[in-house]
Symmetry: C2
Subunit: 372 residues, 2 copies
């Protein structure tokens, strides 16, 4: 089956240091990963942060999350029944861990075993049709019986129908805000039912974080990233579910879509997805058949060995100047930068890291970077 059977377990000190690192200025999931690749532990990375940012040309040092702040957040999590888990720890969805922007620490509540099982995402319109809601429930039920966990976004409409139909077989809600800021508020009961069963809820946001509009697309990448594939049941043109489908495609996940009448605007998005190559779904078997071969393949491993970077020399000033000259506001690929600069990949990555920590570099999907 799909789960990685060997998990690690962080020391509590390393967990706290990782929390400090991801809560510090200019450190997102990709920067976090680069730092860990370069320095091996969060502790060493934290020590080096000010120097790296200065070398990257920061006007002033970014704020570093203190030990006290991190301890306070960990205490709050404990009180709220929230665990912070790192990739490859038990409870961190194995597929999600393979994404290059996987959250360094995932806040979770509920059954860790469920989070380790193979997942299918079911998403769709908030204002779905009766037929769409019925079909979403039917599909979630059949996929649950076939052993899949259903993952979705706790929204009204299709999400809700999918969660409800998989309460007993296992379902995972992915939140856009902190665990104490449920959206929509009336779904606190649904979340209770999910956690009361064998389900779970996950978020990459700290407690107290109120979800804003821009947090939803960001959240959607977790839904697709944790799953083997995403099923879009109903979606109008330009709806949020299509963002999840696009992210699924970028992450190499299967994209499934349920067809509908061309006269129903709620099917415009799903019909378009099928035109673009998504697999048409009329029954659970369509999905089970498609993901079977994927589950049998071994999981992709992290992209590179950290050792290579651990012993790389520090960049020289002229290396840094050369890279800055090559960069601009238009995203370019890291591969192109390596080729054009002639620098070693390890040195180039260190320069990019410095610029990032100085708040001067932005990372995009697909290994692209630009100056901010």
């Amino acid at each position: 089956m799909d789960a990685i059977n060997t998990t690690i377990e962080l020391s509590e000190t390393e967990r706290r240091d990782r929390l400090r690192l991801i809560r510090s200025d200019n450190v997102g999931p990709r920067t976090f990963r680069s730092l860990l690749d370069h320095f091996g532990t969060a502790r060493i990375a934290l020590d080096r942060l000010p120097d790296l940012a200065r070398r990257g040309g920061a006007a002033r040092a970014g704020r570093i999350c203190t030990i006290d702040e991190a301890e306070a957040e960990l205490d709050a999590c404990r009180r709220y029944g929230v665990q912070l888990r790192a990739p490859q720890e038990d409870g961190y969805p194995p597929r999600l861990a393979t994404c290059d922007d996987a959250p360094p620490l995932l806040a979770l509540r509920g059954a860790r075993t469920t989070l380790m099982r193979p997942m299918i995402a079911i998403v769709g319109s908030r204002n779905a049709s009766a037929a769409g809601l019925k079909f979403a429930g039917q599909l979630a039920n059949e996929l649950g019986e076939a052993g899949f966990v259903i993952i979705s976004g706790l929204a009204r409409g299709i999400d809700q129908a999918a969660h409800r139909a998989s309460l007993s077989s296992g379902t995972v809600a992915v939140l856009a805000g902190g665990h104490d800021r449920i959206y929509p508020p009336e779904h606190v009961d649904l979340l209770g039912a999910i956690l009361g069963g064998s389900g779970a809820a996950i978020s990459e946001m700290p407690l107290g974080h109120e979800p804003r509009a821009r947090d939803f697309p960001r959240r959607n990448r977790l839904i697709s990233g944790a799953s083997l594939g995403v099923v879009v049941v109903e979606a109008a043109h330009r709806s949020g579910s299509l963002i999840t489908a696009r992210m699924a495609g970028e992450q190499g996940r299967e994209v499934f879509a349920v067809p509908g009448s061309p006269l129903d605007p709620r099917s415009a998005g799903t019909n378009d997805l099928i035109k673009q190559g998504a697999t048409l779904v009329t029954e659970a078997a369509d999905i089970i058949q498609a993901v079977g071969p994927i589950m049998e393949r071994p999981q992709p491993l992290p992209l590179r060995e950290p050792d290579e970077d651990l012993f790389a020399p520090d960049p020289e000033n002229h290396d840094r100047a050369q890279i800055i000259a090559l960069l601009g506001p238009t995203p370019v690929s890291i591969d192109d930068l390596i080729r054009l600069s002639g620098l070693s990949p390890a040195v180039l990555r260190m320069v990019l890291l410095e610029l990032e920590l100085a708040g001067r570099l932005e990372r995009h999907g697909g290994g692209m970077v630009s100056l901010t």
Copy 2:
């Protein structure tokens, strides 16, 4: 555009002889074509029929349609406003002429110019939903405006909606019976409207032929054969429209299908078609875009030059015996027979023709034959 610009015009004697040939025992469209390939004119083929059937081992000679019978049919046609046209004559749909089982003479009423224009078939359920009927009409209307003739089967439901919406732009009804045996009878008015506009009706059956159940699948091959592509709007599992779609595929025509909810059994067939590779249609542009490149390609030519067969030697008795030994009730390909027998293609074709005229051979699609 799509039409062949150069047409031929048969002499009235040749037309009468061709009519006699296709109305004679054991002569179907494929046998007719072989005979014409072998003997060049219907007149010579008619003269040779008894001898060929005897050589093929016929217990008794098949009936040959007399001159008087053919003249009587031609007179009846004239009185009914029906013309009998041969492939490559004006009024014979150019795409239909390229099919290997194209009717040797097509009975037509209405506007010959319409029959020469590029056609799209729209077919579907007789008990269609309101949405299906509306969409069929909308599609027919938009395709008509784009210059396509709509061809369909004059049935209730989707066919009717497609014809009605294209009355002014041009529509063609394909009949399963003779022109004086309209089915369903209540669509005589619709047919009147089609012929009153710039439309036409075609049939391969003689006047007076009452359509039987088995005539409908046979008729469906004319709908798909005459068109650039077939659009199935709504179709349940195992419905007649799916036969048309299958024939379209076998004839190398484009297959289009309109998606629908998995919970609506009237969309089960169309969703299945899309799973099998049919192009999903939500608007006329999907069709126009797909058939554009096909219209720009030159039409496929008839498969072989008749000259090759005109001067082939008569088969020897041992050739005939060898072929009969290779044949059985299981269809085999003519290519395999050529390879296994070592005979020249022209001689093999003549042996098959003899057996056919003796009523001992059955032809299937894709160049397959079996003993009856």
